[in-house]
């Protein structure tokens, strides 16, 4: 039997973004032997990409704000599919989590009287987002990173976890991974494991996510026997960059449209006027003349259809592209250059001007931007107990984007940073409690370890195709068949395509050696992405309605029956299966919050 580097811990946390760091800080404070493991260097996690702010009902700008209002906004935004208890805990605890960051050195923008300033965001009734300009995620991540470093928490960087380990009872008791730098394996024995590995965006072609967003956390939990919920609920933002390739998927703020930008097809037509749904007709301008006047006079005129909700706009863009009126690279045009002066654009949208200039060599004061929907966030994820962040597998906990339930079918902006603080802390607390309640060190099963290592090294012995080609094909499949607008025939086609892609991935081979070999890393990340793609596709087939981030062309409206269920995906006899299971029921005293006049 081979010998491996090994570490014995109370709490192992997989992922060192905001949720993982916050969990580590909490677990470490209990005295538990705690370590973080992350695929990249410390401080590079996708949390840095969050811009707008962290939502918390501090009431600094609007004293009327409180947790109940935040709770209600979150549930309504999530189309009531949220785990009510998570939404409640989140709204109640977010203010304390934000104030705590200040104690660790975070420097938020200030109000005139020196308190934390809060800004408006979509779906939030009051100005609620504590922020630092447009780099709030970096501030949050750096603050937690510096806190963790000051506590002496061990961080295993550039380590990819391949599989979790389980004991004879099925409880998680460790993990096997390898150092990306050397390609040598490492075994962690741990009484508790926290999954805080973030999102899944790299499964789609157009995404705002970084290379790490391959759904490793979801897949590790799934393979270890945990339940996933509502994996079909994926947020596509309507305006991501599609051209040039360097910028594909990067977000273009809604502020461009708010400041006068309009959407045009290849004929130069403002097509959104053709897509005003009856539900919004009363509040939407039906002529270009009226829409253009709204920018100056919001009282007497109705807003232009470019400012319809995100799902409506994304659906319309999709229709134009499918009708052959898209831009050369499969998007449409977002044009502010012909609408506003260069000075106005630079003053109002400095970061967008900079982003296009630097990344795309496009001057948005002269040219239209090419944009299209981009995969941004997954609301679904690992099923957890709201209070303890425990998954359905003993010893395994989950927090942040990897966990499901908090955001229901659609996430409000600003609620992800608060989510990872509130539930990162809870996951750390309860993972430590679980670990400290178990005596002795865990004994990992060497046969499992050897099997994982053998599996991980298999691509070197295979002569199959390049994993980059399989990844590319997976992204094309998910983008075109399980994208923002879905329909049964395409979903069934995707399900069949995944069978083929899984075979191709299993046959793919890599060249070179084990030391920092990105081709090999991708071959293993690909397994995670395929698992996520399977869960999303199966959930999307079964949820025969449109709700939040899940839009079905063949079932265009919400269905009250589907409002009562989570789509649960889990492993059964070696395959992923799906089942509708009832949502936790909200207590009556909270239900009354939704009956009050709004």
């Amino acid at each position: 039997m081979a010998e491996y580097e090994s570490h014995t811990l109370d709490v192992l946390i997989i992922g060192a973004g905001g949720a993982g760091l916050r969990a580590a800080i909490e677990a470490s404070a209990t005295g538990a032997r705690t370590a973080l493991v992350c695929k990249s260097l410390l401080g590079k996690a996708h949390t840095v990409m969050a811009e707008g702010g962290v939502a918390a009902a501090l009431g600094n700008v609007w004293p009327e704000d409180n947790w109940k209002v935040h709770f209600r906004d979150t549930m309504r935004g999530g189309k009531m599919l949220n785990n009510w208890r998570m939404a409640q805990l989140h709204a109640q605890e977010a203010p304390d989590r934000v104030l705590e960051l200040e104690e660790w050195g975070a420097v938020f923008d200030r109000t005139a009287d020196g308190r934390i300033l809060q800004r408006d965001f979509g779906g939030h009734r009051y100005a609620r987002l504590a922020h630092v300009g447009d780099r709030t995620g970096l501030e949050l991540l750096r603050t937690c990173q510096q806190r963790a470093v000051s506590l002496g928490i061990e961080v295993f960087m550039e380590c990819k976890i391949v599989r979790l380990l389980t004991d004879a009872t099925g409880a998680v008791n460790g993990a096997v991974g390898f150092w990306r730098e050397s390609g040598t394996f490492v075994v962690f024995g741990a009484k508790s494991v926290v999954i805080a590995a973030g999102g899944v965006g790299k499964t789609w072609k157009f995404t705002s996510n970084s290379w790490e967003g391959t759904g490793d956390g979801h897949a590790l939990a799934l393979w270890a026997g945990a339940d996933m919920i509502d994996m079909e609920c994926v947020q596509f933002h309507p305006t991501g960059m599609v051209w040039p390739p360097s910028a594909r998927g990067i977000l273009v703020t809604e502020g461009v449209r708010g400041d006068g930008g309009v959407l045009r097809n290849s004929d130069g037509e403002r097509f959104m006027f053709n897509y005003i749904p009856d539900f919004y007709a009363k509040e939407t301008a039906d002529t270009i003349e009226e829409g253009d006047q709204w920018y100056e006079n919001k009282t007497d005129f109705r807003r232009p259809p470019e400012l319809l909700p995100r799902d409506e706009v994304a659906r319309s863009i999709n229709s134009e592209v499918k009708a052959g009126r898209g831009s050369p690279h499969g998007g449409v045009y977002l044009d502010i250059a012909s609408r506003r002066s260069p000075e106005y654009i630079k003053r109002r949208l400095p970061s967008m001007y900079h982003q296009f200039k630097e990344l795309a060599d496009v001057d948005i004061t002269v040219e239209a931007m090419e944009i299209g929907p981009t995969c941004h966030y997954i609301m679904g994820g690992i099923r957890v107990d709201a209070d303890t962040a425990a998954t359905t597998v003993p010893g395994l906990f989950a927090a942040g984007e990897a966990a499901g339930g908090m955001h229901g079918a659609n996430r409000l902006g600003g609620n992800s940073l608060s989510d990872l603080l509130v539930f990162g802390r809870r996951a750390g607390q309860y993972a430590a409690e679980h670990a400290l309640g178990r005596s002795g060190d865990v004994e990992v099963d060497r046969a499992q370890v050897d099997a994982v290592v053998g599996h991980a090294l298999a691509p070197f012995a295979r002569d199959g195709e390049n994993p980059y080609a399989v990844h590319h094909a997976l992204q094309e499949t998910m983008q075109s068949l399980v994208g923002i607008i879905r329909t049964e025939s395409e979903l069934l086609e995707a399900r069949e395509a995944l069978d083929v892609l899984e075979e191709r991935a299993a046959a793919s081979g890599v060249e070179g050696h084990r030391q920092f070999n990105p081709g090999w890393h991708l071959a293993l990340d690909l397994e995670s992405m395929l698992a996520v793609a399977r869960c999303t596709t199966l959930g999307a087939i079964e949820r025969k309605e449109s709700r939040g981030g899940h839009t079905r062309d063949d079932f265009p409206g919400p269905d009250p029956e589907f409002a009562k269920v989570n789509m649960v995906t889990r492993m059964h006899d070696g395959a992923v299966v799906v089942a509708a299971e009832p949502l936790p029921e909200m207590p009556d005293e909270l239900k009354t919050l939704f009956e009050e006049a709004h």
Binding site: G114, R135, F156, E158, P244, I250, P328, Y333, D361, Y468
Partner: protein
Amino acid sequence: MSSEATVTAANRPAGAPAGSSSPANVTMRLWRGDASGGGFVDYTIENLGGEVVLDVVHRIQAEQAPDLAVRWNCKAGKCGSCSAEVNGKPRLMCMTRMSTLELSEPITISPMRGNPVIRDLVTDVSFHFAVARRIPAFHPGPREADGTYRMAQVDVERVQEFRKCIECFLCQNVCHVIRDHEENKPAFAGPRFFARLAELEMHPLDTLDRRELISRDLGVGLCNITKCCTEVCPEGIHITDNAIIPLKERVVDARYDPIAWLGRKIRRRPSPTPAHVTAALAPAAATGEVISTEPAPRATS
């Protein structure tokens, strides 16, 4: 503006770059190798236009060299992972447009020279993470009676400049003190960490005095103000002028004088920092609170 702007973009032939110099192919001269040695390898690849250097490196990885080692994460200039030397200049590859380079000649990409090479474009950055562990953390005074901390926007902006740092370590890479002087590393923190120390020193709520550490152990005196760090900072942080020079002044003109130090803290903007916060600073200064300069346990790997 007329609607011609839109037409211009729409009619641009697919794949054609905006720049004038646009050969059909480009040659990327990448350093390949590891700690034991290596050399430059040329890769000729189609010039698609509109790309940044990292895109081209990724295409080489996907099409010609799947084992080419390179770090990257956000690809939007926000995480600081893809630092390298492009034609000898330290840059973020994700923020270096191909159209800004002379494409008729090979484009050279080499790993950051200030760090030991691991493989190809990936270098060993553990020195920087070890320095981070030597810096005593933020240590605030007590909260207001209402549970808040009060700071004025103008005061936090001074600190926020340093907190923009994305830890790309390009400044550490170009710093003369350590770039070709491995022997200086134990006694020198480097520009990134002088910015971090300046941030803590200037934080309106912080109560620790780190000047002896900065002077004696972290070597701010070794900096000879060539401003190379400031020049390469992709975030435009004025590391030399706003961090290093003020730190030098603090450690030189008031050699650990608790009264002068306290005076500086108190002289800060009187409102909205309330009196009891400044009062709370006194005990730490009066007792000359000892700050451990021992490195904390180092991050593994």
